[in-house]
Amino acid sequence: MKQNLAATSIAVIALTGVHTKVVAQDDKTILGAGSSFINPLFSKMFAEYNTKTGIQVNYQSIGSGGGILQLTNKTVDFGASDGPLNDEQTAKIGVPVLHITQASGAVVITYNLPGNNNNIALTPDIIAEIFLGKITTWNDPRIIAINKGVSIPALPILVAHRSDGSGTTNIFTNYLSKVSPEWKTKVGSGGAVNWPAGLGGKGNEGVAGLVKQTPGAIGYVELIYALQNKLDYAKIQNKKGKFIVPSIASVTAAGNVTLPPDSKMFITDSDAPDGYPLSGFTWVLIYKEQNYNGRSQDRATKLLKLLWWNIHEGQAFTQPLNYAPLSKEALAVAEKILKSATYNGKPIL
């Protein structure tokens, strides 16, 4: 009996082992994992790429953290993340990793105020004070002062935030840390933080649900989610003092700034005069040296070609799905980074 069991388990292990090997060496399939934010865009892009080239891309939308972990374990060809690698993740991987921008997304501030008042104006200070729990009613003089002619009711403010770790929270808290020194020291920025005020909802739908149900609530969700569900959202004063309504154009504009050569930069609170301040990139992450784990040069080339296509022809699919395409500046940097990828030290593209 025991022998039987052992024999069966060996057979099972052998079978699965063979199976993974087949997947790994099947040069028609490229494996990726990570950001769930970019998943709808990737699904469309990769389906198009498949009909064009016959190459299949298997992308698992397991969250940015999971994607980075899988890349670290070398079980995927690329990871996708809404934030650049942090110091600990960089140290864990140990070798250089390239960050290639794919598209931009944005975070909008949504609220529930009775009456027709879409696009109320908010300044960075007011947003920070609300989420710090310091401004507690809507008829605060500071809010009324910049919203002349809009009827703002005297409701208490209920803050709604994400309860799950997310790239959306990362962008939002990164922005708050830039515009409010108090937020930076008290809370900080990351995918999940210790919120000083408010209630948590799971996912965009959880936050939107809280906001929709509670008069006086304020929360933050992805731009795409707000557009699809026709939520009210605020226009926000950017660094140059302009009040910007979030839109695909203003998000792309936010990325049209001088980027560092590795593109690892949050474009929140952007210097761009027409840029929406709560914008962020999503990156694809790959190893700079593509010869690892016995990968073939052919496979590396296919991966690089796919990513090149993503940032050029693939950009046509961004706007119909409410993603912001890469700005000129971002595209130029991404091209340069892709060209720096090597196989045995020699450039691939």
Binding site: G165, S166, G191, K202
Partner: protein, 305 residues
Amino acid sequence: METTLAITKANKVSNGKIRAESIFKRSLVVIGMSMVVLVLGVLLTLIIESIPSIKSLGLKYLWGRTWDPINNVYGAFPFLLGTLLTSFLALIISIPFSFAIAIYLGEYNPKGWLSNFLKNAVELIAAVPSVIYGFWGLLVLVPLVRSLETKLGVLPYGIGIFTASLILAIMIIPYAASLGREMIRLVPSPLKEGAYSLGATRYEVIRSVVLPYTKSGLFAGILLSLGRALGETMAVTMVIGNTSMIPTSIFAPGNTMASVIANEFTEADHTVYLSALIELGLVLFLVTVVINMIGKRIIKKFTNE
């Protein structure tokens, strides 16, 4: 000659039978033991993966009140409190319902279409996926609780410990109700008939014969319900408010251990953070074990009496 042949043949047959018997028995042992190995394996994995968090935080983890992934400070106390509060509150709310159903189906109306219908309806409650309860809670129960809170004069969040307990109570009713019904139907009729013949009313029979006879079974049902409530994740996370502040009343928002794990696990991006979440799983595991052990003790005490 022929007789010896027949005897050896018979021996062979019985030998084969004995072998089949022993193989059957052994496979039962192997399968049974594999469950033990599985549980120990889970416990071991939880402990090993929790080591980074235990090293950096120590015992402070258990009564710390701050959960701050940015500064790597983790305290599980608010979530431990949230888990225990919601589970026991749910239990208290559910017991009258599950006992009433058990007594009605076990004693008053054990047969017939109405009984069948009711029994199936109760079992259906257990079969509905918890995410559906979560949505229903968010869309239907939360506004109701909010209007109740407005009347009571507390902050009208709508979501919070109380709402989560209500949802949990509904979800766990079938466990205690089904087990209780079976137990009540197993009460020997001579006992009941004896009581009736002494002039006891139906209520008196239930109070002094059926319930004392079945109390260990009823308690086992409650324990089963509690186990379900402790680990429930999805429905709770949607209506509890997900804040790491210590709840100040049963209407305040809070969080539970299972809900924190489900919320934060996928994006936990550094070692201690991930490990702190796994340690939360370890604490939940231990809480369940301790509560089960206490429960078993109480059941044993009941049966010995």
